[in-house]
């Protein structure tokens, strides 16, 4: 392929954002670019940014759909603060993304879409391509729509079909820009549209036309290259957080020898987990789409009673609805996992945006003293391991576990080193053998305090459990005051003892010093990037990031106590900092919060940390 004439600039990383109308196929375009990124061997992370409405009015800001990818020659932990390259398929997608690009970003626009009508829909009074407002940027004017039509002219498609593949024109241009080949993308067309040769041909022609156009017009003074990242040896793939979550559960089901049962109700941004599990009946995984959130979790409790590895998935409002039933699982001491893919709240809030504001609800949002294990996945790929660990802890400790992920992890994707399922830790369900003369429903394991699991259908173990308070050991219903207090304490201690079965915290940077940055859950990538960059710049700052929230790792206090100041960064008003203050009141805490439905930017974190270091 002829792109030798330009200068090639080597970059450490680049952020590309594809933006268009929600019907323009920007997610597919982004994913195809991602595939080519994987082949090159870069590390990467992505984030889709799409409207809550399925088909918002065409051409308007609210209808803009975007896909951002950050790829580099080193480890990449975030999808990038600001884009270096923006593809804007219409005026609205340009306007919507002006705050999300660097000051010197390259902007590829479809000039055909900058009509008076579209400019008006986007709320532009003058044409930004003409009025000088884009100065500082390299704007690549490309009549994408008309050239797409030309490329497929003799295929005799109707006007609408002829324009459909215009996203591939843009992709062709970006592939050229980064010195990539298009062979693999064409292979994708051939597989995807196997039975539609005309569609294959149209997409192929348009893709190549875009590639050649970029070459011919010499739009880019130079092209770019990002070298492969020094990733660990092995087999890789791309995963979104929701996909990784679903697969983590399937792996835990296989490894535990228990069939997977998912009782769930569709809710953004958690539905993909339900959709994924529903595909895998070959593993005896049952996905039950219930009539509401409550039936979702209660069927899960039923399945757990009957001996399944039982899980339910939801997002914030759904977790609220499940509260009473989580209490039932606490009382019956049955293993279930509740996944809460957090989104902006309260109420319906920001369904497609991300937040970390369900932490207190996860920890305490139930009547009575109702402790559960709470875990928070750290990254899209980590969702696999978090789901696996949540299952293991639930089963082996006979307790509900709440696994918190969030909208950014759920839909964002990153590189995933594929493990062998056999290499994952063993899961040992505490199932009681038939006719065990020693069996009592609430007799506990001495170490874990977990009761044992007597599965219906097993001879000699008939018993009743339920939401009423149970007598210690026998499980008979009793309102005895001292027994109640004893059981409350036993349930609490059972969860606290899980601290013996989870890893200790590890610190990035020095183990002691002036400033420790603390985060939990989905902010890991951006916090780590900020800390790595600051440390490269010679700053003394350390990071500790929590995946285990209840119970906290055993060395938490020890780690915190080695620093003069602790900055807790969260996408909420300060829920984790208050939890830490409650548990370890002696430390000197500071907080940094962002509640905009958006992840932190590396730059703003660095600015905040620098200001503290300079104090």
């Amino acid at each position: 392929m002829a792109n030798k004439k330009n200068k090639v600039i080597e970059l450490q990383n680049a952020v590309v954002r594809f933006a268009g109308d929600s019907g323009d196929g920007m997610q597919l375009t982004g994913n195809l670019f991602l595939d080519s990124t994987a082949i090159v061997g870069n590390d990467f992370a992505t984030f889709p940014d799409y409207p809550a409405e399925i088909r918002a009015p065409q051409g308007t800001i609210s209808g803009v759909s975007g896909f951002q990818i950050n790829f580099g020659d080193k480890n990449i932990h975030t999808s990038g603060d600001l884009a270096n390259v923006l593809v804007a398929m219409n005026p609205a997608s340009l306007k919507a993304n002006m705050n999300w690009i660097t000051n010197d970003a390259i902007i590829i626009v479809d000039t055909d879409a900058f009509t008076e009508k579209n400019l008006e829909k986007a709320g532009y009074e003058t044409n930004p391509l003409m009025d000088g407002s884009l100065s500082g940027h390299l704007v690549v004017d490309a009549p994408i729509t008309s050239m797409t039509r030309d490329a497929v002219k003799d295929l005799q498609l109707d006007n609408k079909s002829a324009q459909k593949s215009k996203n591939m024109f843009a992709l062709g241009m970006v592939l050229y820009m980064f010195n990539r080949t298009y062979d693999n993308t064409i292979k994708f067309f051939e597989q995807k549209f196997k039975t539609k040769p005309l569609v294959i041909e149209a997409n192929k022609r348009v893709l190549i036309a875009g590639y050649n156009f970029a070459d011919t017009i010499e739009a880019f003074a130079s092209t770019f290259k990002v070298e492969p990242a020094p990733l660990q040896k092995g087999l890789y793939r791309n995963v979104t957080g929701n996909l990784a979550t679903a697969w983590g559960f399937l792996a835990a089901s296989e490894r535990s020898g228990l069939n997977l049962f998912l009782g769930s109700y569709p809710i953004t941004p958690a539905s993909e987990i339900l959709q994924e599990i529903a595909k895998h009946k070959q593993f005896s995984a049952i996905a039950f789409q219930a009539e509401d959130e409550i039936a979702g979790i209660v069927s899960t409790i039923g399945a757990s009673f009957a001996g399944a590895m039982a899980i339910t998935t939801t997002s914030g409002p759904g977790l609220s609805l499940k509260s009473e039933a989580i209490g039932l699982a606490v009382m019956t001491e049955l293993p279930i996992v509740i996944v809460d893919v957090q989104r902006g709240g309260p109420s319906t809030g920001l369904p497609t945006k991300s937040e970390q504001s369900d932490l207190m609800q996860a920890l305490y949002g139930r009547n009575g003293e109702a402790p559960v294990i709470v875990l928070a996945a750290n990254s899209a790929a980590d969702c696999f391991y978090a789901a696996y660990e949540a299952s293991k802890l639930a089963i082996e400790h006979m307790t509900p576990v709440i696994l918190l992920t969030d909208g950014s992890l759920a839909n964002g994707s990153e590189v995933f080193l594929i493990p062998e399922v056999a290499s994952l830790p063993e899961i040992t369900p505490p199932v009681v053998e038939a006719n065990d003369p020693d069996y009592k429903p609430y007799k506990r394991d001495k170490k874990t305090l977990a009761r044992r699991w007597a599965i219906p259908g097993t001879e000699g173990l008939r018993h009743r459990i339920g939401g009423l308070e149970k007598e210690d050991v026998t499980g008979e219903v009793t309102y005895d005051p001292l027994n109640h207090e004893k059981m409350v304490k036993l349930r609490q201690e059972k969860v606290e003892r899980v601290a013996d079965y989870i890893p200790k915290l590890t610190v990035t940077g020095e183990d002691e010093g002036d400033l420790l940055i603390v985060g939990w859950g989905g902010t890991y990538g951006v916090l780590l990037t900020a800390i790595e960059e600051l440390r490269e710049e010679g700053k003394k700052v350390s990071l500790v990031h929590f995946k285990h929230i209840m119970p906290l790792p055993k060395n938490t206090e020890k780690v915190l106590s080695k620093f003069k100041r602790i900055l807790v960064c969260e996408n909420n008003m300060g829920q984790f900092i208050n939890y830490l203050k409650m548990n370890f009141p002696k430390q000197n805490y500071l907080q940094y919060n962002k509640v905009q439905g958006l992840p932190f930017k590396v730059a703003e974190l660095k600015e905040k940390i620098n200001s503290l270091l300079n104090e």
Binding site: L235, G263, S299, G302, E459, R464
Partner: protein, 343 residues
């Protein structure tokens, strides 16, 4: 009627199912008789005792699982249908019994009730309808007659009640029966039929709350009036009732009507013959709707239609997918789609 194949060597008795928990329903409560009837039925179904699971929600009726020596879950208010569904889907081999009341199944659990009926898992749903909230001490329920004075309706209720049978029909239910708590023999017979039916079998039990709604079903159940007000339906038999067995039900135009045999030229041949197996639920709905004083209350199995169960449909698909899928393990799954090797 499809019956579970009996294995005589099991030889279970009532004793096998009596738990040692003290039964704490009020003396004179209809629930005692229902418990007796269930204890009659479980030993004769040919099912090993460890395969029974009794689940419930909240309410007086929902204490039931504690009184049966089986596997059992006493759940939360209104959600027993979801518990039962999760259990049955996980292990279709279990005989799942759901015990509920009119508050539990018609109010807080109304949504779950219609959906479990619609999905048709093979569970037996016994709904104790005493038309009142008993455990919370006397508030009206969704089946309380309009205008009835209760603790929360001191001037009488302002709302029309549900008829559970109509909800079952509306949700395309496949089995609906009605019995009275005053007739253990009738309950035993109908529960056995419900157990034999593959699919969700809803049995409405007209139950008496001796404390908060005493004699609410008296027209149907009292010694003096029951024969005039009970129509016990049997498949293939004409719908005849009354002390003298001289009254019957006919279909006139689009409506049911009570007629007297021997009057106006009516003979037994004119009387409607019960067929619980018709897919069309039109007549079944009309039968379920009949109430005294205009009509007798229809008792017995009103509707029993064969249909594939929810769990069977799902597990058949599991078996097929196991054979047909290229994915034999999660390792295979993790390696689907685009993967690349880093040397």
């Amino acid at each position: 009627m499809e019956k579970v194949i009996k294995t005589p060597e099991l030889k279970l008795t009532k004793k096998d199912f009596e738990s040692d928990a003290m039964v704490k329903w009020c003396p004179g409560c209809g629930d005692h008789a229902i418990l007796k009837a269930v204890e009659n039925v479980f030993p004769v179904l040919g099912i090993p005792k460890e395969k029974f699971v009794v689940v419930s929600g909240i309410g007086c009726s929902s204490r039931f699982p504690y009184y049966m020596n089986t596997y059992g879950v006493h759940g939360i208010h209104g959600r027993a249908a979801a518990l039962a569904t999760g259990i049955k889907l996980t292990n279709p081999d279990l005989s799942v019994w759901m015990i509920s009341g009119d508050g539990d199944s018609m109010a807080i659990g109304g949504n779950h009730f219609i959906h479990v009926v619609r999905r048709n898992p093979d569970i037996n749903l016994l709904m104790f309808n005493n038309k009142i909230y008993g455990l919370t001490k006397g508030q009206f329920s969704p089946t309380t007659p309009k205008g009835a004075k209760t603790k929360t309706s001191p001037q009488g209720t302002f709302e029309a009640p549900f008829n559970p049978g109509e909800l079952v029909m509306g949700a395309h239910g496949k089995f609906f029966a009605r019995v009275v708590d005053t007739n253990i023999k009738m309950m035993t017979q109908v529960f056995e039929e419900a157990a034999g039916h593959k699919g969700t079998s809803v049995v409405e039990i007209l139950a008496n709350c001796v404390i908060f709604n005493n004699k609410i079903h008296a027209l149907i159940t009292s010694r003096e009036t029951k024969e005039e007000n009970q129509l016990f339906l049997e498949a293939g038999k004409p719908m005849i009732f009354g002390k003298e067995r001289d009254k019957g039900i006919v279909l006139r135009g689009t409506k049911l009507e009570v007629v007297k045999i021997g009057e106006n030229g009516i003979t037994e041949k004119d009387i409607l013959v019960h067929d619980p197996t018709t897919e069309d639920s039109g007549i079944h709905t009309m039968l379920a709707s009949m109430m005294p004083p205009e009509f007798p209350a229809a008792l017995g199995v009103i509707r029993s239609v064969k249909s594939e169960t929810f769990e069977k449909a799902i597990w058949n698909t599991v078996e097929r997918e196991k054979k047909e899928s290229k994915l034999k393990s999660v390792d295979d799954l993790l390696r689907t789609g685009n993967t690349w090797i880093k040397e």
